[in-house]
């Protein structure tokens, strides 16, 4: 048992907190609307090695663990960085884990490791040869997708659709696009392909949960700062007990989601050697990665949607105006929470793991 970050992780946290604070943040996120991509910040990020940091050292990457990546994702979420960091990181890890099938094209190449070639991940299975609402689809040169039982990669595109008509205007101003897979290259097929994609989506759940935890944390800070400064009826809004109690449930909710996302990452790192972990809800013993990843996204989605809702509300009318930052968090929290699927369907999926199957 050890609930502290390692020394290395503390360093990673400090470095990336400083990076995202300096190079991204609400003002930059606002400028990057509606497409949701800050090319200049991405260029700067390449210098940190972040795009390839999660790829094993043997494949030329930084060898970082999922737990390390979660530390970075939290800080990126706190600054709502308009960067495809989680998608690219997960896709690169997925590619590096695949056998090189045709020799001519390395599964994870220099461009991907460096981040000059952006790779996205279609988190939902493709339908009729098309990957719908791909998270970084409007900025990724290549997208990895599961089409039936075939794992495929499209592109590389010379020009990404975000520059043109492909971007889908959306609630969170995320770089969403549909991607046509008809000319995509097959990377793997069969159960191996399905399992590789499932593992990647669980990593995406874990790191997206971490991103949402960061958003929720910062949204609470924005709300607390606002109610400390803002006065009504001659006293700070934050001295009204009704306002205090709207905010007081949030730290536990956010910290709980943070602990769960961290536990999921820990379980994910342990699961790489084939360990499946324990899954006994009768005794509340759960160390299974897939179950924890599902739980983490549900918990973090709840925390982030509630924290942004309450923080926006205590801003009064200003929370609704474009000028204030909380509305940026509000919309992105919902977008990331609902992007993969309805949380209720995610719960039913989780039920399939922890209960006897439905007849």
């Amino acid at each position: 048992m050890d609930l502290d970050l390692t020394e290395d992780q503390e360093t990673i946290r400090a470095v990336f907190a400083a990076f995202f604070d300096g190079e991204t943040g609400p003002a930059r996120a606002r400028e990057a609307e509606p497409t949701g991509f800050d090319a200049a910040a991405w260029e700067r990020l390449l210098e940190t090695g972040a795009p390839g940091m999660g790829v094993p050292e043997a494949d030329g990457g930084g060898g970082a663990s999922l737990a390390d990546l979660a530390v970075v994702a939290i800080e990126a979420g706190a600054q709502i960085a308009p960067l495809p960091l989680v998608d690219h990181g997960v896709a690169a890890r997925l590619l590096s884990g695949l056998p090189n099938r045709n020799g001519s094209e390395p599964t994870v190449d220099e461009g991907i490791l460096a981040g000059s070639t952006i790779v996205g991940l279609a988190i939902r299975p493709a339908l009729n040869g098309s990957a719908r609402t791909v998270p970084s689809g409007a900025v990724a040169h290549r997208v990895v997708a599961l089409d039936g039982d075939r794992l495929v990669i499209d592109g590389p595109l010379a020009e990404v659709p975000g520059a043109g008509a492909g971007h889908l205007a959306n609630h969170g101003c995320l770089p969403l696009a549909h991607r046509d897979l008809s000319d995509a290259t097959v990377l793997a097929t069969g159960p191996e392909a399905v399992a590789a994609h499932a593992r990647a989506v669980d990593e995406w759940r874990t790191l997206t949960a971490a991103t949402l935890v960061g958003m929720a944390r910062e949204a609470l800070v924005l709300g607390v700062e606002y109610v400390q400064e803002r006065e009504q009826f001659g006293r700070p809004v934050g001295s009204f007990q009704a306002v205090q109690h709207l905010l007081a449930d949030l730290p536990g909710l956010i910290d709980g989601a943070h602990l769960l996302a961290s536990k999921a990452a820990w379980a994910g790192d342990r699961a790489t050697d084939g360990t499946t972990g324990v899954l006994d809800v009768d005794a509340n013993d759960v160390t299974n990665f897939s179950a924890l990843a599902a739980m983490a996204l549900i918990a973090a989605g709840e925390a982030a949607t509630l924290a942004t809702d309450r923080s926006l509300h205590v801003h009064g009318g200003y929370g609704f105006s474009e000028e204030y930052d909380i509305q940026l968090y509000y919309r992105r929290a919902r977008a990331l929470t609902y992007l993969l699927d309805d949380p209720a369907r995610e719960c039913r999926r989780l039920a399939g793991m922890i209960l006897e199957p439905a007849c």
């Binding site: 939902r124 719908r132 609402t133 889908l168 205007a169 959306n170 609630h171 969170g172 995320l174 969403l176 549909h178 006065e231 009504q232 009826f233 001659g234 009204f240 007990q241 009704a242 306002v243 949607t305 809702d309 926006l312 509300h313 009064g316 009318g317 929370g319 609704f320 105006s321 474009e322 000028e323 509305q327 509000y330 919309r331 919902r334 977008a335 609902y338 992007l339 993969l340 699927d341 309805d342 949380p343 209720a344 369907r345």
Partner: protein, 386 residues
């Protein structure tokens, strides 16, 4: 009790529905969301020409508050632009109640054509919920007043002809005793309107008043009597003029979408038992919201002041609307995030829109906290907490 509207109100409702069938075109709806201005002068003029406006001015016309409710409820349910019209009718009612012959001739008659409109200048940057504390000053100078200050959330100001402006005329008495209301023509020198864009499609404004000189004839009500003019305005507003049935168009949009859309679980979305449950709960809540609003109208129609009942209707309706929006956002998942006109958007983008719009409904026109304070202190009789 009798829950039928009655022949007269029902006939009026049918007239409004007929009008909407002919005049609420897709163009009108698209224009309101594209411009962010929920006020359409041609549409309003059409209502006036069809004889549906003048009668519904509170106290002025021959229609009662039930019919005023019917007018705005039909506009709201149909998704028509009515925010501007609600303010216009409200001001028309206030002018009728406390205005002069000059105000009637100069403003009221014009408002009733639907071609002119008003905006509300109550809130200020530092006084949102605490209106009695506003700082905009009006200082008498002979037969004129000189106004300096700033108002916030002056929605429609950019196309309004007048602003109904709450000012401080006496700083030396208790807060709410030193206020005076004016009706200020927006073309007077010294008025500046700056747009305040929002996270939804709605646009609002900040307005600035720099040495605006206005004749005493534009004063509405007594000097230092502004707080009671506010009271008249609030009594008209609460509940009856729209704002308590926003989940009716939402339910319609989601229902129509779900009949066509595929569920990730297989089958139609409309076959999803959870969606069916939530649609039913929303239909139930829509009925309750309607009944609480009707009760406020009924109290007004029988001579009462439905302030608290309006608070209850607003508390219930807005919380349920936000709950429903949250449900449908979740269930529509990625497709629910996509905006108006985007390939694949759930319910044609309405879920995204309602997700952007709904948060403000527990803030404007009296926050949830202010309404809860009202109910706790004035209805439940609990001691003042502040």
């Amino acid at each position: 009790m009798d829950f039928s509207l009655g022949d007269r109100a029902e006939a009026f409702r049918n007239e409004v529905r007929t009008f909407l069938g002919g005049h609420l075109t897709a163009d009108v709806v698209e224009r309101m969301h594209a411009t962010g201005t929920f006020n359409d002068k041609d549409f309003n003029a059409g209502l006036a020409e069809a004889g549906l406006l003048a009668g519904a001015v509170p106290g002025y016309g021959d229609r009662d508050p039930i019919e005023l409710y019917v007018l705005f409820n039909e506009l709201e349910k149909a998704g028509a632009p009515y925010d501007g019209l609600a303010v216009t009718m409200l001001v028309a009612g206030v002018i009728h109640a406390v205005g002069t012959d000059f105000h009637r001739a100069e403003v009221l008659e014009r408002l009733l054509t639907g071609r002119y409109n008003c905006c509300l200048g109550y809130s200020e940057p530092d006084h949102g919920s605490d209106l009695a504390g506003i700082a905009t000053r009006a200082v008498r100078d002979g037969d004129e007043w000189v106004i300096d200050g700033q108002k916030m959330w002056t929605t429609m100001a950019h196309e309004a002809d007048w602003v109904i402006l709450l000012t401080r005329t006496n700083p030396d008495v208790p807060k709410h005793k030193g206020l005076t209301m004016f009706l200020v023509p927006m073309d007077h020198p010294g008025i500046e309107v700056r747009p305040v864009p929002t996270m939804a499609t709605e646009r609002t404004n900040a307005t600035f008043y720099d040495g605006v000189r206005v004749g005493d004839r534009w004063r509405l009500g007594e000097v230092d009597g502004g707080w009671s003019v506010m009271g008249v305005a609030l009594a008209f507003e609460r509940g009856v003029m729209g704002g308590t049935n926003p989940a009716v168009p939402l339910l319609r949009h989601v229902r129509q979408w779900a009949a066509e859309a595929m569920s990730p679980d297989g089958g139609r979305m409309l076959d999803d038992p959870l969606l069916r449950e939530r649609l039913a709960r929303t239909a139930m809540a829509n009925q309750v919201s309607q009944l609480l609003t009707l009760r406020a109208a009924w109290i007004a129609a029988t001579g009462g002041l439905p302030g608290l009942e309006g608070s209850m209707a607003k508390l219930y309706a807005t919380e349920r609307y936000q709950q429903a929006v949250g449900w449908f956002q979740q269930m529509a998942a990625a497709e629910g995030l996509l905006s108006f006109g985007v390939d694949g958007s759930a319910a044609g983008g309405w879920i995204d829109y309602d997700g952007r719009h709904s948060p403000v409904t527990t803030i404007y026109g009296g926050t949830t906290e202010i309404n809860r304070n009202n109910v706790a202190e004035r209805h439940l009789g609990l001691p003042r907490s502040r």
